[in-house]
């Protein structure tokens, strides 16, 4: 299954833009493994994953219409 992924901040710098499509993944653990292969600097980054705008704390199964976002530590204000 292909999942489109939104990226922000430092992660968007690494992945080269605001969104990307990751293929052949069914859950967020698989997504993270793919990201580490495609973008090795991601391995040393701390970030959260939001699925449909909610931050998830453990491995989460993904459906095709899900909105996945990679969120580096917030620095607003």
């Amino acid at each position: 299954m292909d999942i489109s992924v939104l990226t922000f901040g430092q992660i968007a710098d690494i992945t080269g833009g605001g969104s990307l499509t990751i293929s052949n993944i069914n859950d967020t653990d698989e997504l993270m493994r793919q990201l580490n292969v495609l973008f090795p600097p991601m391995q040393s980054l701390r970030y959260s994953i939001a699925v449909n705008q909610k931050i998830i704390r453990e491995n989460t199964t993904l459906k095709k219409a899900d909105t996945v976002a990679l969120l580096p530590p917030f620095s607003g204000g």
Binding site: G9, Q10, A69, S75, G76, G77
Partner: protein
């Protein structure tokens, strides 16, 4: 008098003193207000590795951020006796010395206004998906870290 409708928090560029004055002025007709507590975040020209920060460029995961602002707002209305509350955050470039965050809480009594404002600032910094890119004079940049 509680304002609970979802509103746009993000504004393009800095929050100006005139904008703040206008927001304050609009509250003179709400004569049940006894106290306003206001927090303003201003861009600091920190020196990092001998390079001075000249601006911060803000970006956000906008839909999620608006939802989170809304949730934080609702929680404050639930937990404190407030008359109204206005939250504004900049997107795009804000120069050092300019204001990027404006939290404005009004209440009949000071303790509600002060405590709510403090809590709102902490939650906004911690929970809202906004990122600041610190731009140096030589056009290099680094991603801001909140403490």
């Amino acid at each position: 008098m509680k304002e609970k409708k979802k509103r746009t928090v993000f504004i393009d560029g800095p929050v100006t003193p005139a904008f703040i004055a206008d927001a304050i002025q609009q509250h003179s007709i709400k004569t049940d207000i006894g106290a306003h507590s206001i927090f303003l975040g201003q861009v600091r020209s920190d020196i990092i590795n001998k390079q001075e920060v000249v601006a911060i460029e803000y970006s956000a995961y906008r839909e999620m951020a608006e939802d989170k602002f809304h949730e934080i707002r609702e929680d404050a209305f639930r937990d404190f006796s407030l008359t109204c509350m206005h939250l504004y955050h900049s997107l795009g470039s804000v120069k050092s010395g300019e204001i990027s965050l404006f939290v404005f809480v009004s209440a009949p009594h000071r303790q509600d206004a002060i405590k709510a404002c403090e809590l709102l600032v902490e939650r906004i910094k911690k929970e809202v998906p906004v990122w600041g890119k610190e731009i140096f004079a030589n056009n290099h940049y680094q991603w801001k870290k909140n403490t």
